[in-house]
Chain length 316, copies 2
Amino acid sequence: MPPRRVIGIDAGGTKLLGGVVDESLAVHHRVHRLWRGADRSETIDIFVAAVEEIRAAAPDVDAVGFGIPALVDARGAVVWSNHLPIDGIPFAQVMSERLGLPVVIDNDSNAAIVAEHRHGAARGYDDALLLALGTGIGGGLVIGGRLYRGARGFAGELGHIPLDIHGEDCPGDCPGRGCFETLVSGRAIGVAAERAGREQPESTFGRLLAGHGEIRGGLVAELAHDGDGQARAVLAEVGARLGIGIAGLVNALDPGVVVIGGGAVGAGDLLLDPARAMLAERALPPGAQPPPVLPARFGGESGMLGAALLALDGAP
Amino acid sequence: MPPRRVIGIDAGGTKLLGGVVDESLAVHHRVHRLWRGADRSETIDIFVAAVEEIRAAAPDVDAVGFGIPALVDARGAVVWSNHLPIDGIPFAQVMSERLGLPVVIDNDSNAAIVAEHRHGAARGYDDALLLALGTGIGGGLVIGGRLYRGARGFAGELGHIPLDIHGEDCPGDCPGRGCFETLVSGRAIGVAAERAGREQPESTFGRLLAGHGEIRGGLVAELAHDGDGQARAVLAEVGARLGIGIAGLVNALDPGVVVIGGGAVGAGDLLLDPARAMLAERALPPGAQPPPVLPARFGGESGMLGAALLALDGAP
């Protein structure tokens, strides 16, 4: 019997990544899409077209797993998304009708921690948390060896813990202020770089800002890897804030490991070392070794792999 | 056979409460002690004297359960306490030697949520969190129907999540800044009242401040219950901050219920209603009914009862 194969789709706040995944976690036929401000119906069409493109290359797939940046209920309906215009859509039902395949849906960061817990950086830990740093911060929790969903299925929105009670409104339609993700995310790295650019118009970021008007987190990471001092300082600043947020989560939950995923993990230790230093300084008990802060083994693909694993769990 | 009886001791940051507790949760022979700045050896002596006083009245007890404001390890040693000078003491061993009785030790708020989950406000909820508002904020978590201890046994320090990244140093030797408990606790209520008194010297708190130099949280609650507008405004301000902190915990953990215990629960709905309103405004998903915020059924006695329950669990 050939290994079973499913499609895994990871939908972030900015883009979609999909592919065929088999039981050995090999990935084939990757596709990428950008939302580019798609409205409600266009967004659903992009999901469908991405799956159909993969399926054309791999017609033998058994099921599709979707990790989406949203709170989803037990029937696979979208209760709320801060990043995509899909609130209220019975997503699992719509997709299984449009695709004619079994569909599994979960929060994107829940999917990511499933992959990291079973096969990646959190393997062997009964208690783990994942922060996916992308457009915002997604979160996932493994507690007592299992994905933790909470009383209503909404647990793990770790990016929406307020870190700055006097902070600004959280973007999108999160009603919070000063949320963790406003201070630490791919977008927050860009915002910090733009502020540095405004303060020093003759600097790297000052010139970039004059030229393009926007600086993205990925570019900051690239410049930092190339040795740019200003870019490294920006990552150190955001990394320190990341460490403060992790310290609070460690105090509350005492995980055995903290896994950092999402696109911003491309910044690597230039972001994570300042976070580790701040965690060691701020976490309880003082002087003790805090839990390790590890990059996601599967980098930006944890969500896609985890969505596929959930589909393999559910597929006949 | 007569019902089994044990001694439950709840040690807070300011005082100790103890009593004999039987299997029906009836309490007899209560004792109270204040720490009044006791040093390391005096603190241990106070614990021993409190137990001996109770035991003189009830020589038939089977065991002693201690809930203490500290991180404790699996062998009952104190790893760290922000409130009492007992760091590093092998507490369970010292107490069982001094008392000649079986001893169980746990974090005070872990003990409190055990009582509230089995018999109180969190009964029937698989996922619950407790905030004990006293000198600081203690926290306890029930996840999947069980007390959650985390990877090292240190979970539940919910008072040490940073809510104000630009805030002041957390008192005691917590290395955090702007921790939840610096903004919301019995002490924080007193601090808010003193600030109100400085701003308005002719007000209730202004006159109290001129007379006594210190305003305690319990007095603010009393004045608020008597209808004092300034005291009610202080409770509303601290209650709103409480709601912001709860919103973050609800977003992260999606508990079925939030229980508020500790001495500050004496402020009742004057504190909890502003917290509920802020929680409804700030929690995810917007517009949904957040989990209920309930006062501890056992008020300031949850910790003592829970310590006793843990001792009954462990006693022969």
